[in-house]
């Protein structure tokens, strides 16, 4: 799964969890995960859905968990793009193992 495909997957699940209303900007790489349309429960659901779809489609079991998850500055959960990067690194790590 490429970085772009990962971003598209995140955006798709994002929209399913919190459908856009009228003037909401479309979700893209720079969309922040916390503080916008998603509440903390949505973010947890996003992570669960991502793990499941990646396991099913890529046959790679990753755990999207990080001690910095709640940090505003260093969290891989800052934006759609940073989460995609983090997922890419987890998948690469899992393939190497």
């Amino acid at each position: 799964m490429t970085r772009q495909q990962t971003i598209e997957l995140i955006c798709k699940i994002f929209d399913e969890l919190a459908p856009p209303i009228e003037n909401d900007p479309s979700v893209n790489e720079s969309t922040r995960l916390f503080g916008g349309r998603l509440d903390s429960v949505n973010v947890v659901s996003l992570v669960v859905e991502l793990e499941e779809q990646i396991a099913d489609h890529c046959d790679v079991a990753i755990t999207i968990a990080d001690d910095q998850a709640m940090s505003q500055q260093r969290s891989p959960f800052r934006t759609v793009g940073s989460l995609a990067d983090y997922i890419q690194s987890l998948m690469a790590e899992s393939t190497r193992a």
């Binding site: 429960v41 947890v44 659901s45 669960v48 793990e51 499941e52 396991a55 079991a61 755990t63």
Partner: protein, 235 residues
């Protein structure tokens, strides 16, 4: 019952003892039951599927839950029963034993609960039952490590209840008294008697005493009971 409608349970440490009893009882209640242990089970039962998995191994836990998701698409009940005991004066406990006991009793319950909750939250329904011990409130000499590992499980139980409550998942714990299983086989009779003497009801526990509490906690009507630790015997 068509696939998808049957309730599904997972019991860890189900190869023998209390876990085996709980797994068999859940099957009798109509559940499709998965059990797991590090070694294969030497018993079979229609409706029971044994998985070889070490609960302290993150990848093995993920694979076990993924297997349940793929075959049944749901998980209604988890009983975190897998546990190992340690009886020793705290001055005599090697560091390696601390790691081993905490890995199975605490890390294992954490990982299984975490992965199970991911499946449960999609259905907005789930019951997680952690097995603790009366050794926590009774402060028994020689059981510092075992009790500490279970105290960690109890704290986890209480906080998880808050973190997953909005997904329809309840998290509770049951604390048995000594039951005649391998877990207490090496515990001196005098130590067991000391525990029994400290109980309100002075006898050893039986697996059915634990199952009675589990029966109550997994009922759909018990959806308002969460974050609780229920000790048996009046400890």
């Amino acid at each position: 019952m068509p696939k998808g409608e049957q309730r599904v349970g997972l019991v860890t440490g189900s190869r023998k003892g209390l876990g085996k009893f709980i797994a068999q009882q859940l099957v009798a209640c109509g559940y499709a039951v998965f059990g797991c242990s590090r070694l294969p089970a030497d018993w079979t039962l229609e409706g029971y599927h044994h998985l070889e998995a070490d609960v302290s191994n993150e990848q093995q836990v993920k694979e076990a839950i993924a297997q349940i998701r793929r075959s049944h698409g749901r998980l209604d009940v988890v009983v975190n029963n897998a546990g190992i005991a340690s009886l020793n004066h705290f001055l005599m406990v090697p560091a390696s034993t601390i790691d081993k006991v905490m890995a199975t009793n605490f890390r294992g319950a954490w990982l299984v609960s975490r992965e199970a909750a991911k499946l449960m939250m999609k259905a907005r329904y789930g019951r997680i039952i952690n097995v603790t011990t009366v050794a926590v409130p009774m402060r028994i000499r020689g059981e510092a490590l075992y009790a500490a590992s279970k105290a960690a499980v109890e704290t986890m139980t209480r906080i998880l209840a808050h973190e997953v409550g909005e997904f329809g998942i309840t998290v509770n714990a049951v604390g048995p008294t000594p039951i005649d299983t391998d877990l207490i086989r090496k515990v001196p009779a005098a130590s067991i008697q000391t525990i029994i003497d400290g109980l309100a009801i002075k006898r050893k526990g039986q697996p059915k005493d634990v199952m009675n509490v589990i029966d109550f906690l997994i009922r759909p009507e018990s959806d308002y009971v969460t974050g609780q630790v229920i000790y048996l015997g009046g400890a």
